[in-house]
């Protein structure tokens, strides 16, 4: 036997505990959510960060200081830590609350503007994001560029005082309601040897002349996705995000944030809650339920460990990819176990309860393991981390 084991990369950061001060915050959020539900303002749903668009709810969260939490106070935020934000986020998702309107703005846009945005851009957008009044989309995928993001063809041509964008973006969630989005575009001709070079990010207002937004209905018929077409859309110099040519680096630097949060394993949690409700008073399902809870508890510890690592300034991309890969498969496992234990058929027309949550979960499940990097791509990232590629 060889004395030295083959060295493996760090697949998960050390355990992180939430600071004790977050207990009061958690209790406040829980009390608020209970009050909202008692008043019948919304019904818990699965996959709420895609489907739960509710601007009143987002503004109410903003009023309470629960959006833009990590944005510094001078930009209308609250200067809280990422772990405080983590607590609020996981409480909202666990309750199945309608978080879609502010979701992308709060999760990605705020932190990215703080990192790469100009002072003017921060002043312009951050206060509205923290108030829950300004909503964003993300313009990355294109008809011929999904997993292979470097293949984007949307062109940014230099013109007097700015850039002109021409091309098509797809799967843009919420573009029909949102105010703006970050568009990844090619600002220099493609070079096959350096495929990631020549990409840039632009802040595009979705009501700008030349922007067309067309629905791409989900298989359920619901309208969340859109195609966004640019026909020579003018983007002034002051709306370039970060550096021209640094788009790839900027986009990928956010992945550890985007891939490791609680939304990567809680999309079907409201179904698990309903399942426990259906099984109340019956015996025989303990092992299956225990297995789901053991996996969920573990995923949350992994996700928290990445959050703690991010908070201390590291970028554990490999560990984040692992969380998303395991977490999104777990979201599907909840559906499988629910079907195994309860024979109530899914009912997309039901107002609420197990049958409705099961219907939504089943119909939304294909998206879990696709959005934000498919599981096959994520496993490729892990294989690279293991030194196999």
């Amino acid at each position: 036997m060889t004395a030295t084991l083959h060295r493996l990369p760090d697949l998960v950061p050390p355990p992180t505990e939430l600071p004790p001060r977050t207990a009061a915050l958690r209790a406040d959020v829980r009390a608020f959510l209970a009050e909202e539900q008692m008043a019948g303002r919304w019904t818990p749903r699965a996959d709420v960060w895609l489907s739960g668009w509710d601007e009143r709810f987002s503004r109410e969260l903003g009023r309470r200081g629960w959006l833009g939490m990590t944005i510094p106070k001078e930009y209308g935020g609250h200067g809280a830590s990422a772990l405080d934000r983590y607590v609020v986020t996981e409480e909202l998702l666990a309750a199945g609350a309608p978080v879609a309107a502010h979701w992308i703005a709060d999760r990605q846009i705020g932190p990215t503007l703080l990192r790469f945005g100009t002072e003017e851009q921060r002043q312009r957008f951050l206060p509205g994001i923290a108030r829950g009044e300004v909503y964003f989309g993300i313009g990355m995928s294109e008809p011929d560029a999904g997993s292979d993001l470097a293949a984007v063809r949307t062109r940014a041509d230099r013109v007097d005082g700015g850039w002109e964008l021409t091309g098509t973006k797809v799967w843009t969630s919420g573009a029909h309601h949102a105010h703006a989005f970050f568009a990844l575009a090619r600002s220099a001709p493609r070079d096959e040897r350096h495929r990631h070079a020549g990409l840039s990010q632009f802040i595009v207002l979705l009501d700008a002349p030349g922007v067309q937004i067309r629905p791409i209905p989900l298989l359920t018929g619901a309208h969340h996705f859109n195609e966004v077409v640019f026909d020579r859309v003018f983007v002034p110099d002051d709306m370039v995000l970060g550096e021209i040519g640094a788009g790839w680096k900027q986009v990928t630097s956010e992945l550890a944030f985007e891939r490791s949060g609680p939304e990567r394993f809680l999309s079907t949690f409201p179904l698990l809650v309903a399942l426990v409700g259906e099984l109340a008073g019956s015996a025989g399902a303990e092992r299956e339920i225990g297995g789901l809870v053991a996996r969920l508890w573990t995923l949350r510890r992994m996700s928290l460990a990445v959050a703690g690592s991010l908070e201390s300034g590291e970028a554990p991309e490999l560990a984040a990819a692992v969380v998303k890969e395991l977490g999104t498969r777990y979201e599907n496992e909840v559906i499988d176990v629910a079907r195994l234990l309860v024979t109530t058929p899914p009912d997309p027309g039901a107002e609420a309860g197990f049958a409705r949550l099961l219907a939504d979960a089943v119909l939304h499940a294909p998206g879990f393991t696709l959005r934000g990097g498919t599981n096959e791509v994520l496993r490729g990232i892990v294989a690279r981390g293991l030194g196999l590629r």
Binding site: M1, T2, A3, T4, L5, H6, R7, L8, L11, V12, P14, P15, E17, A23, R26, A27, E90, A94, A95, F269, L272, V273, A274, V276, G277, A280, A285, E286, R287, E288, I289, G290, G291, V293, A294, R295, L296, W297, T298, L299, R300, R301, M302, A305, G308, S312, V322, E325, L326, E376, L378, R379, G380, V382, A383, G385, L386, G387, L388, R389
Partner: protein
């Protein structure tokens, strides 16, 4: 964050267990001596019991390394179980390796009678600590009849038959039965996480060395995807086991949050064990299925240990009962511990 103390401990453990690694079976006396010299043998025990006064988080680091190198020593048994139990009961600890078991013995004054099954490492230890009903009993293996048995990894799991005076019989302190069980499960989960890492490391190494179709098999996406899945399981096992160690260190074993953490960790590491062993063997092909290859050192431990100290099925049943008793509104508070 990993403290520098932890880093040093990790390096020490890696070198101690790495140097001792071999494909033999049976108790590794030389390694045990090294563990005693370095203070790792009784890491978490108080100085009064010959211990190093380390935390359970320190133990987590050391046990993960022991599992990763398939160490052949009763480390969990000596430090986390027998040492703790005897010390809690006020019984002076014998020198050398120890083991512990919960079982049934007839106790009459200082005389004990009965049979204890599947006692880990009984043939190799200086003392067997038994938690039996209302008593903590210390047995001298020399005064017992030992019938050798093994688990799937060829580790000693012996039958101990006694009929005569014990080395010590004292009243069991309150709560030790529940804590002994949780300590066993936590120790086993940490070893499992380590063994899973060892099996993955072996698979990654082999995939980089074995050439077929003109390139290392690790260049094939089918193999990469499988190893990535195994890596995910290793990550989950490590995260679960180390988070449970931290929970126990922070809140103690009596806290409901620790009970949940240990149950989840033993369940999750047990689940990972099967998946990682399967993928490691698939990647190795036929050679890993032979005695001459070392892969079995990790995979047989994964298969053996997932059943010990409560299988994933048992801990899942317990977790599920807790969850169903708490009802739908109690599920999320259980997960978050508040």
């Amino acid at each position: 964050m990993t403290t520098s103390v932890n880093q040093e401990l990790q390096e020490l453990a890696e070198s101690v267990f790495g140097d001792a690694a071999s494909s033999d079976t049976g108790f590794d006396a030389a390694l045990w001596r090294t563990l005693e010299e370095t203070g790792l043998a009784r890491l978490t025990l108080p100085a009064g019991a010959g211990g190093s006064e380390g935390t359970l988080e320190d133990a987590a680091v050391v046990l993960a390394a022991a599992g990763a190198h398939a160490a052949r020593v009763p480390l969990v048994e000596t430090d986390l179980l027998a040492g703790w139990l005897l010390h809690a009961a006020g019984v002076p600890l014998p020198d050398g390796p120890l083991t512990a078991v919960a079982g049934e013995l007839e106790v009459d004054g200082t005389t004990v009678r009965g049979e204890l099954r599947r006692v880990p490492w009984a043939r190799a230890v200086a003392g067997v600590a038994v938690l039996t009903g209302a008593h903590v009993v210390l047995l001298d293996p020399g005064a017992a009849e030992i019938t050798e048995g093994t688990n799937l990894a060829e580790e000693p799991r012996d039958t101990v038959r006694v009929d005569g005076p014990a080395a010590a019989v004292v009243a069991a302190p309150d709560g030790v039965a529940a804590e002994l069980r949780l300590r066993g499960a936590l120790g086993r989960a940490l070893l499992l996480a380590g063994a899973a890492r060892g099996a993955l490391a072996a698979g990654v190494r082999y995939a980089g060395e074995r050439v077929q179709f003109g390139r290392p098999i690790g260049r094939f996406q089918a193999v990469q995807q499988q190893l990535a899945l195994a890596a995910g399981e290793v990550a989950a096992a490590s995260a679960a086991a180390s988070a449970a160690a931290r929970a126990a260190a922070d809140a103690g074993f009596a806290a409901p949050s620790t009970r949940l953490a240990v149950a989840a960790a033993k369940s999750r590491t047990g689940e990972a064990a099967g998946a990682v062993a399967r993928i490691a063997h698939q990647v190795h092909g036929a050679i890993g299925f032979t005695r001459e290859h070392d892969l079995r050192l990790w995979t047989t431990r994964l298969w053996a240990w997932r059943e010990e100290d409560g299988s994933d099925a048992e801990w899942n049943a317990e977790l599920g009962s807790t969850v169903l008793a708490a009802g739908p509104s109690g599920l999320w508070p259980l997960i978050t511990g508040s």
